[in-house]
Symmetry: C2
Subunit: 228 residues, 2 copies
């Protein structure tokens, strides 16, 4: 009798973080990702990235052309999406079940996403009722890796006088989320864009039934909204 050996290639947390970061940069810039962009994303030095991408290339998780950057292979992309799925399911669990604030969960999910158990994630997902979006409005990939793409625009690109609804935050930083808490902006909040300052792109907005506030272009560009 012939036993078929199953190779379960287990990636380290570092390797998984690279795959996630590369996918994110690919989606943002739709081109191959320069090693320098990864160094910047992780706050590490460029040679460290060169070493790692060589290793990931050997594992067929990405294609690396010297001095030209990297692109995920199908295998690498599939794994990257699986990790994002884990991250977002954990974030949803932390906010929905354990009542963490949305600004607290990203760092924790960075750890939890590296726990190796497909079954755990599937059970969590079922326990949560198969949520489609995480606490920041980001879509949760399904088990097959399908991601619903939000047709949102960033508030920074919205038109003055328009009414919008916040459906996502394109930046998980604790600081931004804390600031949004202060402004009483959360998922579902209605915004009226009253004016845009040409000089710096800052906006004056009316937040729900509250007063008006001025927000910087940086904040405006991380608020994902739909017309309302």
């Amino acid at each position: 009798m012939k036993l078929s050996l199953i190779f379960v290639e287990v990636l380290s947390a570092a390797e998984e973080n690279y795959l996630k970061a590369i996918l994110k940069l690919e989606l943002e810039h739709k081109v191959s990702v320069p090693t320098g962009a990864l160094a910047h994303a992780f706050g590490i030095q460029a040679p460290s990235v060169t070493d790692m991408v060589k290793k990931l290339a050997l594992k067929k998780l990405l294609k690396y052309e010297k001095s030209k950057g990297v692109r995920l292979t199908d295998k690498g992309k599939k794994l990257a999406i699986a990790i994002i799925r884990k991250h977002r399911i954990w974030e949803t669990f932390l906010v929905q079940t354990l009542e963490f604030g949305w600004e607290e969960v990203h760092e924790l999910a960075e750890q939890l996403e590296h726990v190796h158990s497909e079954k755990l994630i599937d059970k969590l997902e079922a326990f949560l009722g198969f949520p489609r979006f995480d606490p920041h409005g980001d879509p949760i990939p399904d088990k097959k890796g399908t991601i619903v793409s939000a047709k949102a625009i960033v508030l920074g690109a919205a038109k003055v006088g328009g009414n919008y609804k916040v459906i996502g935050i394109s930046d998980d930083s604790t600081e931004l989320l804390h600031y949004l808490n202060k402004l009483h902006v959360k998922l579902g909040t209605k915004l009226l864009l009253q004016s845009r300052e040409a000089f710096d792109g800052s906006l004056v907005i009316k937040i729900g039934s509250r007063g008006t506030e001025s927000i910087s272009a940086i904040v405006a560009n991380s608020l994902l909204v739909v017309e309302d």
Copy 2:
């Protein structure tokens, strides 16, 4: 103004596993733990242990006397208990909330116990309703590190003719727990000890309202019971 820098010493998973293993061996043998015992516990070579205990000694987590073994300091013991607390709370969550089998959760908890977040564990504990025992009957230390000590005996040392109730399993191995599932033995199951074979210490027991079964001394010694 003088700021007091707070050093949050973050231990690696390996370091945490050493602390846990040392505490377990200390409790079992009530003496200092030889490096060889740790090598055996982890299935690694003795020189690896020597290296690690030197490092843990530098961090004041244990006392190491060359060729004489190690003992946890108060600091080390406190950390070890905190890790056991995490392990058992995660196991309880997995069984109670996500409906894993009790035989599936140990390995997963081995990963989850190394997620660094006091707040996460406290929230999980509250969500679970402050459980006092994990799915294998092991006591869950409270936030202060207090562990209720079970006054159980092992079935192997029980007296023939006695009625007992299973309150714990002193071995988390998947294989044993699977075997107990097959025997329909779980926490709370009533047992009647019918006879003991002098030759090998094996027992014949009546399991609840089911038939009688013969179990080996090895199994008998991992069943924690109280008189019933």
